[in-house]
Chain length 290, copies 2
């Protein structure tokens, strides 16, 4: 049982985490910290948090667990603020979409006390934001990746694991570098593609006629272009090297598709489309689940 949970960033991710833990009787009191007063007041009204914190330093002083659910670009500042006030028994965890940069920020900010930070990443994003988007059950049967540090105490990692399991998540541990490589491919690249496609079409003289007739294909392919620009700016910069590599690889693939079109090679195109379709079908049928 966590007596006092502090959530920094009470949006879809942090808010849903708090709601599930309250519903499961895993926390006594939740303090919300954030930049937007109106959002925190919404969170209070919705019962996601019990009180609005008067700054991170004062809230942290009595915390047993601190969840950092802010854009990853804000992490260095948060760790620096936490360092002088963090109780020795308090565990810090996060929900950042990139892990190596957040870990580096924690090492820099927390120094010798970095062992109190257990890095995590719930795979349950959406293009909705704010406390209003939070809901119980968001994490049910969703993957939750932990990338523990060599310095972490086993008991602290187990505490964080147990809380996510209480939210219904399927917890897995992974090396932080592998995590960032995998999510560059399956999450960050698709987001960049979706943003780029939407921005490209919207910037053209024909935009008005495009969007008058565009159908469900474009709508779904660009759903994640509705995601939060600041959050994705931070993720893109945090995982910059892996993402440039991904953009190069996809650029090469698109060039090879273009070459097949130029050669009017219908058979090779059909085979490529069929491989894509089969892989997606296998994935959605759970062939890759543990």
């Amino acid at each position: 049982m966590i007596k006092h949970l502090v959530v920094v960033g009470v949006g879809l991710i942090g808010g849903s985490f708090a709601l599930d833990l309250k519903n499961q009787g895993q926390v006594q009191r939740v303090t919300g910290i954030g930049r937007g007063r109106a959002n925190l007041e919404t969170a209070l009204k919705l019962g996601i948090i019990d009180e609005i914190g008067d700054g991170l330093a004062s809230a942290a002083a009595s915390a047993d667990l601190i969840m950092l659910a802010a854009p990853v670009g804000a992490m260095p500042g948060l760790f620096a603020e936490l360092a002088p006030v963090l109780p020795t028994t308090c565990i810090v965890t996060d929900a950042g979409s990139t892990k190596q940069d957040v870990i580096a920020a924690a090492r820099l900010g927390l120094g010798a006390r970095v062992h109190q930070f257990v890095p995590g990443h719930p795979i349950a994003g959406a293009e909705t934001n704010g406390a209003i988007a939070a809901r119980p059950g968001l994490y049910a049967d969703k993957p939750l990746i932990l990338t523990p540090l060599p310095e972490n105490r086993a008991a602290d990692v187990e505490t964080v694991e147990a809380l996510w399991r209480a939210c219904g998540a399927r917890v897995a541990c992974m090396d932080a570098a592998l995590h960032d490589q995998v999510f560059a491919a399956v999450s960050h690249l698709p987001h960049l593609l979706s943003f780029a496609l939407m921005e490209e079409l919207a910037s053209r003289p024909l935009a008005e006629i495009y969007f008058r007739y565009a159908g469900a294909g474009l709508r779904d392919a660009t759903r994640i272009a509705g995601s939060h620009p600041e959050m994705w700016r931070d993720i893109t910069l945090a995982n910059a090297d892996a993402l440039m590599h991904e953009l190069d690889a996809l650029g090469d693939k698109l060039k090879s598709v273009r070459a097949l079109i130029e050669a009017r090679d219908g058979q090779a195109l059909e085979e490529l489309f069929a491989r894509a379709r089969e892989a997606r079908s296998n994935w959605l049928q759970g062939k890759y689940n543990e």
Copy 2:
């Protein structure tokens, strides 16, 4: 009232067209034509068609309306088969995703009788296939583009328009070249991207770990990679020039995104993401509807 409708390709598109027209009392009898016997038997059992045709030529002999809902690559063969048997009072229409190539095939196949062909394109695709996917109401409030020929009789165009309106579609007329340019951008390019992304990820050594942890972002961004490979081979080849142009433009956009990442230009990235998000929001709020 259409006494005898012949549907060539009784799948999602052709089947749903027949179902709606039957439900609206717009047709008396529907004959289904297609390559797959099992699919036609399903269509018969589901009441989508009243009989399985004994070949296009014999079914066409008594038809008032023929709907060609086959992959666009099959159109030249269908027009050639129709030419010698097409009754002079029969209207032919289609549901092909590209229009200039289908019109060229009609001119070649039907010759002087090309005036009987009214080209159309319903914007209501999905990644599901076959008669089993057909459903009433598929076209409700969806755009339906007609690209009439100079040779068409006004009364024939009006007949086709009226039938689609009976299905609930929002009918618009457009030049065939503009149609192909617009749908290269808003439909064909997103399909190629989705296929290419999925195939790229699936072909890598890490594919298994990718798909174990991939979330809803990739799932939605690649929904259309579940589309029919043969249909999309045909569309890609039919609209090859416009699509190569689109791939080049998107390749340039991705290169400019890569350059922003390399320069760690967070502000420009955030602004690009915000433009994409705003355009999508405007689109889905109906800002571009007539």
